[in-house]
C-alpha cells in the first residue's frame, strides 16, 4: 500500500515532467490533486500499525539492501499532518506558478520531494530512511535554487550543512551495523539494542548518538547549524518557503523523536549507572541546552533582520529551539509539548510564509521598510499574518499558545529554571520582531507605488483561510491533535498526558482552552467594537508625515529612507554588535569554505610543476612510502 503510494508519486513526477512548460497550469493543478489523493490514501492507513512492506533491492557480500516501509504511530502522524499542510501550500503555488513569467520546471521535483517526505516517515530501517533523506535533500536543493544566482548561495548553505549531516548519519548507520552487539538496520530494534549496549560500551553509544544528532541538528538548523534557514528560506521561491519552514525543517525533529528521544528513554530504563541531571541523562540535558541557545539566538537574529522572509526564517529557528529543548526533557509533557509545537509551528509558520508570499506576489518587495499599510488592500492576507504572529507569539486563543503552555509545564515541573528562563526570554523576544513585522508590512502608511495593489486571487486565499481556520481550531480544541500525539508518545514508552478535546491537564495545573478562547475572542470583539464606534482616522500621505510634505527625491534621497521600519532595532543591534562580530558562526563557515578553496588551489599547484617536479613528487612519494612503510 505504502509502496504503491510511493510508486504513484514517482509516476506522477514523470507525468509532470512530461507535461512540459507549456502546460504549467495543468501540471501544477495535477500535482495538487494528486497530493489530495495521497492525503486521502494516508487517512485510510490510520490504524494499520505495524504493517511492514519489504522490497529487496540486492544483496552482495554480507549486506542485504532492502527497502522497508511500515506504519508507525509517529510516522503516520507526521506523514498525515505534513501532507495536509503540503496540500495547502500547493493550492497556493498553482496560481503563483501560473503567473510566473517562466515557470522553472521544478514541479516534478516537488512531487518527488513529497514522495520522499512520505518515505522518510514510513521507513522502518535506516537504509530506507537514509535514501529518502538524501532524495529529499537534493530535490529541495534544486527547488530552492532553480537557476537564480542569489538563491544558489543560499541553497549552498542549506545543502552543505545538510549533506554534512547526512554523511554523519551514514557513518552512524554503518557504525550501528558494524557493532557486533547491534548488527541491525531496523530502527526499532536498534534502539533497544543500543540502550542495552550503553551499559557495557557507553563510548560507542555516545559517538553513534552524536553522529545522528549532528545530522538531525543540521537538518533542523539547531545551533550551530542555524544560519541556513535565513539564507534558504529567504531566497527560495515564495511558495517553497512555507514548505521549507513548515515541513522541511521538521525532519530533524522527526529524527530526534524517532531515534534519540526513545533511545534516551530506553537508556534511562535499562541502564542504572548513567550520569543524570535533574532526572534526565546528562547528554539529554546538554542537547536541551542546545535547543535553548537556538531559541534565544534565533530570536535575536530575527529581531535585527530587516528582510521579512529572513525574519520569519529566524523565527522558525527559534521555534525549533523551543521544540528541541522541550523534547530533551524526556518527560511525557516535554515530548508531547515538543511534538505539539512542531505541528503548531508547521501550521502557523506556513500561514505566515503564505501571507508573505502573497505580499511578495503583489508587491515584489521583501524588505520591510519598502512596504507598509497593506492591511486594507489585502485584508485576508493581513488577517492570516495577524493570526499567524499571534499564534507564534503564543497568545491565546491560537494554537501556539497551547503548545507553549505545555512546554512551560514540562520545563517547570521538571525543575529546569535556567532552561525555562531562556525559553521565556526567547518567547518574549518574539513579540519584538513579530509585531514589528506586522506593523511594517501591513500597518502604517501605504507607499504611493502600492496604491493599485489588490488582494491575491481567490485560489491563493483558500490555503490562507484554511490556515486561519486550523490555527483557530487547534487553539480552541487542542485535543484533536494531542490525541494522536498521545498515541505516538505512548509508543515511545511514556505515559501520555491526559487530554480531552478542549482540556489539557498538566502536572502543575490544567487549562480549558475553550474557556480561554471564548474569553479572548469576546475581548477581541469588545475591542473591535470600540474601534468601529471610535473616531474615524484622517488619511495622511506618508511623506506629509515624514518630511513635512517635501519630496525627498529633490535632495537626492528615496522615501524609503524615511520609513520608520528602516533600522528599527538598530539600538539592539548596537548593543550586541561586539559579541556578534566575534561569535558570528557564519564567519567561521565562510572561512572554512574559503580555506577549502585555497587549500584545493594549493594542492592543484602540485600538478603544475615541471616534468622534473612531477618525477620529484613520484620519487619523493616513493621514498616517503618506503620509509613510512618500514616504520609502520
Amino acid at each position: 500500500m505504502i509502496s504503491n503510494i510511493l510508486l504513484y508519486t514517482m509516476i506522477a513526477a514523470v507525468i509532470s515532467f512530461a507535461l512540459g512548460q507549456k502546460l504549467k497550469a495543468v501540471r501544477w493543478s495535477f500535482s495538487a490533486l494528486f497530493l489530495g489523493y495521497v492525503g486521502f490514501q494516508l487517512y485510510g492507513l490510520y490504524g494499520q500499525w505495524g504493517m511492514v512492506e519489504t522490497h529487496n533491492i540486492f544483496s552482495l557480500g554480507s549486506i542485504n539492501f532492502s527497502l522497508n516501509f511500515g506504519i508507525t504511530k509517529l510516522g503516520w502522524f507526521f506523514a498525515f499532518f505534513t501532507t495536509i499542510i503540503n496540500i495547502m501550500i500547493w493550492i497556493f503555488s498553482i496560481v503563483k506558478n501560473m503567473n510566473e513569467k517562466e515557470e522553472r520546471g521544478i514541479n516534478f521535483l516537488w512531487i518527488l520531494l513529497a514522495g520522499s517526505n512520505l518515505a522518510i516517515f514510513f521507513s522502518v530501517d535506516w537504509i530506507t530512511f537514509f535514501i529518502a533523506w538524501e532524495i529529499m535533500t537534493w530535490t529541495s536543493f534544486f527547488i530552492i535554487t532553480p537557476g537564480w544566482k542569489n538563491s544558489f548561495k543560499a541553497a549552498n548553505w542549506y545543502f552543505i550543512l545538510s549533506m554534512f549531516g547526512a554523511y554523519a548519519m551514514l557513518v552512524g548507520i554503518w557504525w550501528l551495523y558494524a557493532t557486533p552487539a547491534i548488527h541491525t538496520l531496523n530502527i526499532a530494534s536498534s534502539i533497544a539494542l543500543l540502550a542495552k549496549l550503553s551499559i557495557t560500551a557507553p563510548g560507542t553509544v555516545g559517538i553513534i548518538i552524536a553522529l545522528f544528532v549532528l545530522s538531525f541538528f543540521a537538518k533542523s538548523a539547531v545551533f550551530p547549524f542555524h544560519p541556513w534557514p535565513a539564507e534558504a528560506h529567504a531566497e527560495a521561491p515564495d511558495d517553497f518557503s512555507p514548505y521549507l519552514s513548515g515541513i522541511m525543517i521538521k525532519y530533524g525533529l522527526y529524527g530526534i523523536l524517532l531515534f534519540i528521544v526513545p533511545l534516551f528513554i530506553q537508556i534511562m530504563k535499562v541502564n542504572p549507572n548513567i550520569a543524570m541531571v535533574n532526572g534526565i541523562p546528562v547528554y539529554s540535558y546538554i542537547l536541551a541546552w542546545f535547543g535553548a541557545i537556538t531559541a534565544v539566538l534565533g530570536t535575536y537574529l530575527a529581531i535585527v533582520s530587516n528582510d521579512m522572509k529572513k525574519l520569519a526564517a529566524y523565527s522558525t529557528v527559534s521555534n525549533i529551539g523551543y521544540a528541541v529543548t522541550s523534547m530533551f526533557i524526556l518527560s511525557s509533557a516535554g515530548v508531547t509539548g515538543g511534538l505539539f509545537h512542531v505541528v503548531n509551528h508547521a501550521v502557523f509558520k506556513s500561514a505566515i510564509f503564505l501571507s508573505l508570499g502573497a505580499v511578495k506576489f503583489r508587491t515584489h518587495e521583501r524588505e520591510m521598510h519598502k512596504l507598509g499599510g497593506l492591511a486594507t488592500k489585502m485584508p485576508i492576507t493581513f488577517l492570516t499574518f495577524l493570526l499567524g504572529i499571534i499564534a507564534a507569539a503564543g497568545i491565546p486563543p491560537l494554537n501556539g499558545y497551547a503548545s507553549k503552555w505545555i512546554i512551560y509545564q514540562a520545563l517547570l515541573s521538571g525543575h529546569f529554571p535556567f532552561l525555562t528562563t531562556m525559553i521565556f526570554l526567547a518567547s518574549t523576544g518574539a513579540f519584538l520582531y513579530l509585531f514589528r513585522a506586522l506593523h511594517s508590512i501591513f500597518l502604517g502608511q501605504l507607499p504611493r507605488k502600492f496604491n493599485n495593489v489588490k488582494e491575491v486571487p481567490f485560489l491563493m486565499q483558500i490555503p490562507m483561510i484554511l490556515g486561519i481556520l486550523s490555527m483557530l481550531g487547534i487553539g480552541y480544541a487542542p485535543g484533536i491533535v494531542l490525541k494522536p500525539i498521545g498515541l505516538a508518545v505512548k509508543a515511545m514508552g511514556l505515559t501520555p498526558m491526559t487530554v480531552e478535546n478542549t482540556l489539557m491537564v498538566g502536572k502543575l495545573s490544567s487549562i480549558n482552552t475553550a474557556v480561554v478562547s471564548s474569553t479572548f475572542i469576546g475581548a477581541f470583539f469588545f475591542a473591535f467594537a470600540f474601534y468601529l464606534i471610535g473616531k474615524k482616522r484622517h488619511h495622511v500621505e506618508p511623506l506629509d508625515n515624514y518630511t513635512a510634505g517635501q519630496d525627498p527625491e529633490e535632495f537626492g534621497l528615496t522615501p524609503e529612507l524615511y520609513h520608520f521600519a528602516l533600522k528599527f532595532y538598530e539600538p539592539v543591534k548596537n548593543i550586541f554588535r561586539p559579541i556578534e562580530e566575534k561569535l558570528n558562526i557564519k564567519n567561521y563557515y565562510r572561512a572554512l569554505v574559503r580555506n577549502a578553496n585555497s587549500f584545493g588551489a594549493t594542492l592543484s599547484e602540485m600538478f603544475k610543476l615541471s616534468g622534473a617536479g612531477s618525477s620529484m613528487i613520484f620519487v619523493l612519494g616513493l621514498v616517503v612510502i618506503i620509509l613510512a612503510g618500514w616504520m609502520l
Binding site: N56, I57, F58, S59, L60, G61, S62, I63, F65, E102, I127, I131, E134, I135, W138, F141, F142, T145, P146, G147, W148, K149, F152, N156, F159, I160, M163, F164, Y167, L170, V171, W174, W175, Y177, A178, A596, N597, S598, F599, G600, A601, L603, S604, M606, F607, K608, G611, G613, S614, S615, I617, F618, G621, L622, I625, I626, A628, G629, W630, L632
Partner: protein, 502 residues
C-alpha cells in the same frame, strides 16, 4: 580446448591493427569504422566468454601450446572477463563519438592507437604472466600518449610528455620488480608467483611490492604517482578522456586488485599483503590522500576537464582504500564502485564534449544556461554526476554505501579514513551541484553547433545504464559476487592455472 580461443580477444585486434595501414590507403575514415567494428567484436565475444565463465568457472587459455607455468597463459575468470567486457564496452561507446568527430589527417594512426590501447587494456586484465602484463602496460601507455597528443595543442604535448616521463619511471620500477621476482622465484607466471610468494624473505617481498606499487599506480592515477593526470586530461579531447579514465584508470586499479589481493595477498576474510611492511595501511593512506587531494583540487578548478580529471583521481583513491581494507565486503564494494565509476565518468566526459562545442569553452562559468539551450545534455550531465556522487537510485549510491559499510566495519583508525573520505565526498557533491546549477541558469547561448545523433546515442546508452544499475543493482550483484570470490580465492586461482592445490 575451447577456452584457448579467448586469445582472439587479443589476436584479432592485433591482426586488424597490422592491417589498418592497408585500409588507410583506401580511405582514412574506413579505419575508424574498422576499429569500431573490431572493438564491437571484442565486446560481443567477451560477453559470451563472461557468461561462459560465470556458468563454468574460471578457465585458462594457453598460448603456444605451453602449459603454465612454462608458457604464457590467459586467465579467464568472472573478475577478469567482467572487467574486460566493461573496458570493451566503454571503448565502444567512446568510439561511437570518435566516429563522427570531425576528420583529421591522422585519423588512421589515431584509430590504430585506440584499437591497440583497448586491446592492451583487455590483455592486461586477461593475462596470467607478469612480464606479458608489463609488455601490455607499455603498449597501453604508449598508445595513451598518442591519444593525449591527438588534440594537437601545446598542452596536449606537455601532458603527453609528462605522462610518458612518469610512465617510463613507473615501467622502470615495474621491470625492476619483475627482475626481483624472477631472481628469487625463478618464474614469471602469476599463479606460480602467488603459489610461492610467501616463501620469500618478507623484507625481500616488500621490496617487490613497493616497486610494483610504484609502477602500476601511475596508471591507476594514485597519488603520488599521478602528477600527469590534470594536464593530460586537459590536453586530450573530452571524449577521449573517457578512455583515459574508464580504460586506463580502470585497468590500473584492476591490476592493483589482482596483484595485491590474489597474487601478493594472503588470508581468508581479511587479505593481508605479504611482506614485512603493513601494505594494507600503506594503500589505505595512499587512497585517502589521493581522494583528499583530488577532491579539494577539483573544487578549486574552473575547467571541466580538470575537474573531472581530479574527480576520477579521487574516485580511484576511494577504490584503493577498499583494496587496502580488503575484507570481502570492501572488495565487493570496490569492484562495484570501479564499474560504476567507469560508466558515470565516461558519461560525464562524453556529455562534456558536445557541451564544450556548443558553449565554446571548457570553463564551467561559461556553461551557464546550457540547460535552456539543450535540456537533454544538461539532464545527462546531471545523471552522470548523480551517479558519481551517489544520489539514491543512481549507480554510485549503492557502491558508496557498501564502501562506507566495509570501511566502518573494519574499525579502529578506519573511522578517520571514512571521515576523510566523506569529507571529500561532501566537497565532490558541492562542486558537481555547482556545475549542475550553472547548467540551469537563465541565460541565452548562441551556437550553431548541432549535436550528432551518435553522440546522443552514446549518452543515452550510458545514462540508461547508470539509472538501471541504480534501480536494479541485483543483476550486477551476481557478477560482482562471483568476481570478488574469484579475486579472493587464491588457492582456486593457483589450482586452476597450475593444477596444484595449495
Amino acid at each position: 580446448m575451447k577456452s584457448n580461443y579467448a586469445v582472439l580477444l587479443i589476436a584479432i585486434p592485433l591482426l586488424v591493427a597490422f592491417l589498418q595501414p592497408l585500409f588507410s590507403l583506401i580511405n582514412k575514415r574506413l579505419t575508424k569504422w574498422v576499429t569500431f567494428l573490431t572493438i564491437g567484436f571484442n565486446f560481443i565475444y567477451s560477453l559470451k566468454l563472461l557468461n561462459y565463465v560465470m556458468a563454468n568457472g574460471a578457465q585458462i587459455a594457453i598460448i603456444g601450446n605451453w602449459k603454465p607455468p612454462f608458457g604464457i597463459n590467459l586467465y579467464l575468470s568472472p573478475f577478469s572477463m567482467l572487467f574486460a567486457t566493461i573496458i570493451y564496452f566503454v571503448a565502444l561507446i567512446v568510439l561511437l563519438v570518435y566516429l563522427i568527430d570531425k576528420p583529421t589527417e591522422v585519423d588512421d594512426r589515431m584509430s590504430i592507437a585506440t584499437l591497440l590501447m583497448v586491446m592492451a587494456s583487455g590483455a592486461i586484465t586477461l593475462t596470467g604472466d607478469i612480464f606479458n602484463m608489463f609488455v601490455f602496460v607499455e603498449i597501453l601507455s604508449i598508445s595513451t600518449v598518442i591519444l593525449i597528443s591527438f588534440n594537437n595543442k601545446g598542452i596536449s604535448f606537455k601532458g603527453a610528455f609528462r605522462y610518458i616521463v612518469l610512465a617510463s619511471l613507473g615501467s622502470s620500477m615495474l621491470l625492476l620488480a619483475i627482475g626481483f621476482i624472477y631472481g628469487s622465484l625463478g618464474t614469471l607466471n602469476l599463479a606460480s608467483i602467488a603459489y610461492r610468494f610467501n616463501l620469500l624473505n618478507p623484507v625481500y617481498a616488500s621490496v617487490i611490492v613497493f616497486l610494483f606499487m610504484a609502477g602500476i599506480m601511475v596508471e591507476a592515477e594514485l597519488f603520488p604517482f599521478n602528477a600527469w593526470v590534470p594536464e593530460a586530461y586537459k590536453g586530450s579531447k573530452s571524449y577521449l578522456n573517457a578512455l583515459l579514465s574508464g580504460v586506463v584508470g580502470t585497468t590500473g586499479i584492476y591490476v592493483l586488485f589482482r596483484m595485491f589481493i590474489t597474487i601478493f595477498g594472503s588470508g581468508q576474510n581479511h587479505i593481508q599483503v605479504i611482506g614485512s611492511v603493513n601494505f594494507n595501511a600503506v594503500i589505505i593512506v595512499i587512497g585517502v590522500l589521493t581522494t583528499l587531494i583530488g577532491e579539494f583540487s577539483a573544487l578549486s578548478q574552473k575547467d571541466i576537464k580538470k575537474i573531472l580529471a581530479f574527480s576520477s583521481m579521487a574516485q580511484m583513491g576511494i577504490i584503493a582504500v577498499t583494496i587496502g581494507v580488503a575484507n570481502m565486503n570492501s572488495i565487493n564494494a570496490g569492484i562495484f564502485h570501479l564499474i560504476n565509476h567507469a560508466f558515470s565518468k565516461s558519461l560525464l566526459f562524453i556529455v562534456a564534449f558536445p557541451i564544450i562545442n556548443i558553449v565554446g569553452s571548457a570553463n564551467i562559468d561559461k556553461w551557464e544556461g546550457l540547460g535552456r539551450k539543450n535540456i537533454f545534455l544538461a539532464i545527462a550531465f546531471a545523471i552522470g554526476s548523480f551517479g558519481l556522487i551517489g544520489i539514491p537510485f543512481f549507480n554510485g549510491f549503492w557502491s558508496k554505501m557498501m564502501i562506507v559499510e566495509s570501511v566502518v566495519s573494519a574499525g579502529g583508525w578506519m573511522y578517520l579514513v571514512i571521515g576523510t573520505i566523506l569529507l571529500s565526498a561532501l566537497v565532490e557533491t558541492f562542486y558537481f551541484f555547482r556545475i549542475i546549477f550553472k547548467l540551469f541558469v537563465d541565460k541565452k547561448i548562441e551556437s550553431t553547433y548541432s549535436v550528432h545523433i551518435f553522440i546522443y546515442l552514446a549518452i543515452l546508452i550510458l545514462s540508461i545504464i547508470v539509472i538501471y544499475i541504480g534501480i536494479k543493482p541485483s543483476f550486477l550483484a551476481t557478477y560482482i559476487h562471483k568476481a570478488a570470490i574469484d579475486l579472493v580465492d587464491k588457492s582456486h586461482y593457483i589450482s586452476t592455472v597450475l593444477g596444484v592445490i595449495k
